[in-house]
């Protein structure tokens, strides 16, 4: 990791209290994000990837709690901030793009008014000035500024997600957390949204944490990829390294199970079993029940995250023992 870390997460643990018991959604998670970097956090449902985004912005649901760790942004520990200080942080320093553009826009407000409201919440200026900022922003994102007068229902899914992105960056944040921003969008629109996010990074030096279940998308957009399984970071590496030489058996399985387009192979490999129930996760390594190379140690003891090569971290006792084809 570089020394210029803008956002650094150290030993973060988040628990949820559910009717069925206590659930450790994120367990001892560390990650650093540099300026202008895009990191993808990849995992299946229940891996804790969305919780990570909520924890960074301190917007966990009422039954969720950060029980351990630090989240530093520009030297400030977010975990110790008061509610008032957090409001200064959210949107202005770190903002979030939510999964569903349908529900993250107010259906009863014009797009322009929503943008103006966001600006005026944080900046002192008159309404007209804020409106102009909004209109200019939309134009710079390739959206007709006439859209300012539209209501969300008048927009297509892709256009709505572009508006959500505009709202997320209107206050010039340094970090944007994008939580599955293209789920529910068709591939062509998805591609357009990825292009837009990459432009924001290139033109505005925004750092992005891109949360997704899709390794293919992660490859397209990010510099580094972090793979999560059942609340644990299991592998972290530069994207080409991760695709060329994945060392964790879960990453290997995930890569093989992407139905990648091809005409030579009809082979679709799967990982047996299902992700674990997080209230009663398996002992030892959480992946061992589904792991093709698990040994008895894996059932007893939890492996640590180890830097096996420079900047390539893996949590597995047998990392790299099985070559990836």
């Amino acid at each position: 990791m570089t020394n210029q870390e803008l956002l650094s997460i150290k030993n973060l643990s988040v628990v949820y209290n559910t009717t069925r018991g206590r659930l450790i959604a994120i367990d001892n998670f560390s990650l650093g994000l540099s300026e202008g970097e895009i990191i993808s956090v990849v995992g299946e449902s229940g891996s804790g990837k969305s919780t990570l985004g909520y924890a960074i912005l301190r917007i966990l649901p009422p039954n969720g709690k950060i029980v351990n760790g630090e989240i530093h942004f520009n030297g400030i520990n977010i975990i110790q901030l008061s509610e008032k200080e957090l409001r200064e942080l959210r949107g202005k320093k770190i903002s979030m793009i939510f999964q569903d553009p349908m529900t993250s826009l107010d259906p009863l407000m014009r797009i322009g008014d929503q943008i103006v409201e966001t600006i005026l919440e944080h900046e002192k200026m008159d309404k007209e000035e804020a409106w102009n900022i909004g209109a200019n922003l939309l134009e710079s994102l390739g959206i007709d500024s006439e859209r300012m007068y539209d209501f969300p229902h008048q927009l297509s899914g892709g256009m709505r997600q572009r508006i959500v992105i505009a709202l997320a960056i209107v206050l010039n944040p340094k970090v944007v957390i994008a939580d599955e921003p293209t789920t529910g969008l068709d591939v062509i629109v998805q591609y357009q949204i990825l292009d837009l996010l990459k432009r924001l990074r290139d033109e505005r030096k925004i750092s992005i944490i891109f949360i997704t279940h899709d390794l293919g998308l992660a490859y397209d957009i990010s510099d580094r990829i972090a793979v999560m399984y059942a609340g644990k970071l299991v592998e972290l590496a530069e994207k080409n390294k991760l695709f060329d030489r994945p060392l964790h058996p879960y990453t290997q399985g995930l890569l093989k199970s992407i139905p990648e387009l091809s005409i030579d192979s009809k082979n679709l490999v799967s990982i047996p079993g299902y992700p674990p129930d997080m209230v009663t996760p398996p002992r030892g390594c959480r992946f061992h029940p589904r792991c093709p190379i698990a040994m008895s140690l894996c059932r007893q003891k939890e492996p640590k995250l180890i830097e096996v090569e420079k900047n390539h971290y893996v949590r597995c006792f047998r990392s790299g023992e099985v070559a990836f084809k």
């Binding site: 892709g158 591939v187 062509i188 992407i258 679709l268």
Partner: protein
């Protein structure tokens, strides 16, 4: 000669009237229609996996529903094993339903939450009055085994909420297959599942296909999955089939700009390099343009495209493309891989 086609679709159309406000109805404004499926023809051969691919709103699911007669077609013909089933009703339709079944996209919505898994799978047997009580139970247990839900006795008495998404979809598959149909429509059966589970379900379906000699119409927006399972593919855009052909033809030498745009937009690194970028999104299917439906977004458009809707050009015995610019596309995109 034996008929090798299990399903034949001829000039099939489905228009949905657009809901009007009371005032508009009083003023008797013209009724508008969504052209969900607009004059499509294709056939599916016995033992084939036929994939219908397209973005949301292209009419692919509607086509599936029409074929299994969950929707009434506006126009056209559906022939199943040589019998015209377009307008059959009541008892006759119910009897035929034994032979064609459907698996829905959302396993959270397609299973009755108040019914036990065993009862859900047994229900079709009850309706068609097949076997004795004991035989039905045995049949359900063996179905549970066939779809990989072990131990079957335990799953029999569970409720849907106790199952994961992948397990639920297995139940839906068991329910669809319990009547031993010949033909199955699978409407995006894995789009709600995690990637690692997705492959399990697709592989299970392919395994069952071999064991029970099934034919599939597999509806998906995911070209990756289609490339792993299909024999032939049809690509739909705004209610029309724009390209149809064998797997190698459509994936390897696509000739419709929309197919190429879809294929090259797939994330990941297999198709690196050139991308055909197109602008905008799928327009609504109410005011259909006169010429080519893809005109507004097409990078290859020329004047004729706006005036004349392209007909199918035959590129091989099996490969058909509806585009005026095939030659130019052939030059720019000789092969995709």
């Amino acid at each position: 000669m034996m008929n090798t086609k299990i399903v034949e679709v001829e000039n099939l159309r489905k228009l949905f009237p657009v809901q009007k406000s009371f005032l508009d109805r009083l003023l008797s404004k013209k009724i508008e229609y969504v052209h969900a499926v607009d004059d499509i023809s294709f056939n599916i051969k016995i033992g084939e996996v036929f994939c219908l691919v397209g973005e949301s709103g292209c009419g692919k699911s509607t086509t599936g529903y029409l074929i299994v007669r969950l929707l009434e077609p506006t126009d056209g013909k559906i022939i199943f094993r040589g019998i015209d089933i377009t307008h059959i009703k009541g008892e006759e339709l119910r009897k035929l339903r034994k032979e064609f079944q459907i698996i829905f996209q959302d396993p959270y919505a397609s299973l009755n939450p108040r019914m036990k898994i065993g009862d859900i799978i047994r229900h079709p047997l009850d309706i068609h009055m097949i076997g004795t009580r004991e035989e039905r139970r045995e049949k359900v247990l063996s179905m549970l085994k066939d779809v990989g839900l072990y131990p079957p006795e335990q799953f029999y008495d569970k409720y849907p909420h106790q199952l994961s998404g992948g397990q639920r979809q297995r139940v839906a598959i068991a329910r669809a297959l319990v009547l031993q149909p010949k033909f199955l429509v699978a409407d995006e059966p894995t789009s709600m599942l995690d990637v690692s589970v997705q492959a399990n379900i697709v592989n299970l379906m392919m395994d069952l296909k071999r064991r029970f000699n099934l034919t599939y119409l597999y509806i998906t927006h995911d070209f990756g999955i289609a490339s792993k399972i299909c024999d032939r593919i049809a690509v739909m855009y705004l209610g029309k089939i724009v390209e149809i052909g064998k797997r190698e033809e459509v994936l390897g030498e696509p000739r419709h700009p929309y197919t190429i745009a879809l294929l090259t937009s797939i994330p990941g690194r297999k198709i690196a390099g050139k991308k055909l970028k197109i602008r905008g999104e799928v327009p609504n299917a109410i005011n259909i343009p006169i010429g080519c439906r893809f005109y507004a977004r097409c990078p290859y458009k020329k004047d004729i495209c706006q005036e004349l809707e392209p007909k199918f050009t035959k590129l091989s015995e099996t490969h058909y493309v509806a585009c005026h610019n095939i030659e130019m596309i052939k030059k720019d995109w000789p092969t995709l891989f």
